[in-house]
Subunit: 164 residues, 2 copies
């Protein structure tokens, strides 16, 4: 038994972690059926409303062309460990997919920041549906966030390997 | 007043969102002072322990060379909207930085998956400290996750523009 087994057991029993949204996403996609599987090919514009209380943290964000948006899949209900995706008919391990139905329903999209007006960010490429709670915004930094991928598992060749 | 103002007010008053960790990160970095500012240049190996209950969701993950790891900054206490970073002496908007001290203390790192043994993933490039709660794992997919950055705001030239 590894020396850290005790810690792991402790953590499995621990209380939940709590998050409060810092904003809300206003999107042309009004429900889960309307959203694209991934937003990166879409030309649709979404508006990210950062609540006024958090606006100061946006200082100079308009200097960035791309940001990482983290949000809560609020329509997600439950999950399965083996899931079918739009890309083929096989069952895949949940953590090898971008399914919104996950134990921690956290969504993540890199989007293009088109404009900022006070606490509102106008972005392109966001696949979240209307009313999605916003949890965090981070700058997208290629030297930190990009990796030279060698293997893409079952997704190989299905979405294209490079930037589209 | 935009039509969605009512919804926003409602959300600001709403209850917290709850998360339960799906695993724990075992890292050579024993405290926040020991962790690198970003893990991507480090050769250190970390082990991600996905709790046994969630192991089935890892099916075929070893086919992927890179994964996105989302975790909880459990040592984060409070935050400021304007922060100093290791890169210069100016104050920057929190959401233009990767500071661990955030309203929603969610960490995000793209790591190289070296090996898997049952529910343990051996990875390189993870900057989380020992004992960090694991929230989610997603496949890293260049066509989804990479963007051709035009502007990197105050970070321009500080970290290098391309992949390192």
């Amino acid at each position: 038994m590894p020396h850290w087994q005790g810690l792991s057991n402790l953590m499995e029993e621990q209380h939940s972690l709590e998050l409060k949204p810092i904003g809300i996403i206003h999107s042309p996609y009004k429900n889960t059926g309307a959203a694209p599987y991934q937003g990166y090919k879409s030309e649709e514009i979404s508006q990210i409303e950062v609540f006024k209380d958090f606006e100061e943290g946006l200082k100079d964000i308009e200097g960035f062309s791309h940001i990482i948006v983290i949000y809560w899949f609020h329509k997600s209900q439950g999950y399965h460990f083996l899931v079918k995706t739009p890309w083929d008919d096989s069952l895949h391990g949940l953590f090898t997919t971008r399914s919104p139905h996950r134990p921690c329903p956290l969504g993540l999209t890199v989007v293009e920041l088109l404009a900022r007006e006070k606490n509102i960010l106008k972005v392109k490429g966001l696949d979240a549906i209307d009313g999605t709670p916003l949890l965090d915004i981070k700058p997208y930094v290629p030297s930190i966030d990009e990796r030279a991928v060698v293997k893409s598992g079952w997704l190989e060749g299905r979405l294209g390997k490079g930037r589209s």
